[in-house]
């Protein structure tokens, strides 16, 4: 993936997820409607790990209009409830990262209180650094 993480073909013609939606690449589909598609990740963190994607080829969440954002997360909630019921996990983690396939996707995967998955390393702000960072974000809002 190139530095700016953009699919070189912005209409998604070369995008793996667009090919999955079209049925050109097989998948274990869990849900589909006119706007969204959900299927099992082939390299799951845990059994039942799903990806939810918009059918429209966009790369980042911030490219989605507010209606799409609203609807995809309402669908995520519905799928979280179904995963929890189906697989009796303790909870379901939701994550959006941006480094793998350049087509906006939400990861949902079952978690267990004793699963010992790694935590991201954290740090602490020194001096007035946190106030400075907060101000920068407030000014950009």
């Amino acid at each position: 993936m190139n530095k700016n993480n953009k699919d070189e073909n912005s209409n998604g013609a070369s995008c793996i997820f667009c090919k999955i939606i079209k049925g050109e690449i097989p998948c274990d589909k869990v849900y589909e409607d006119k706007d969204f598609f959900a299927f099992l990740d082939i390299k799951p963190v845990s059994d039942g790990h799903l990806l939810i994607i918009p059918k429209q080829h966009i790369v980042w969440i911030q490219e989605a209009d507010d209606e799409t954002v609203s609807n995809i997360f309402k669908l995520a909630k519905k799928l979280i409830i179904a995963i929890k019921k189906a697989l009796e996990c303790d909870y379901v983690q939701l994550s959006i990262v941006g480094k793998d396939v350049p087509h906006f996707h939400i990861h949902l995967f079952p978690r267990y209180f004793d699963d010992k998955l790694p935590m991201f390393p954290t740090k602490e702000y020194q001096g007035g650094k946190s106030k400075e960072v907060a101000q920068k974000i407030i000014q950009a809002l």
Copy 2:
């Protein structure tokens, strides 16, 4: 935290995030409206790591009504755009986990293509396992 991850006081009286909303515990606030509150995580993965919370004390996303889900993620999108603009990161990761503070919260934190944060370990489905798991989730939908 006990096994079912519930705040023992379900009205949030003992909840750290409820105390932050009320101003009883200081924080670096970035955003507030009648329903939501966003502030810097004191143990950030990266500078600018925010938590977005509903003011209503709920523990899990699936306890939020659809309107709350819709609105909190539209706010998350707005904050992602602001973080990216303010801090010039490559992208912003969004995650909802469930193991720390028992008050529903969305993590947003700046990511950089070269930040080398750990990936979760993944596995592969064997035999017909993926079809079996997909069917279980479909039946629970």
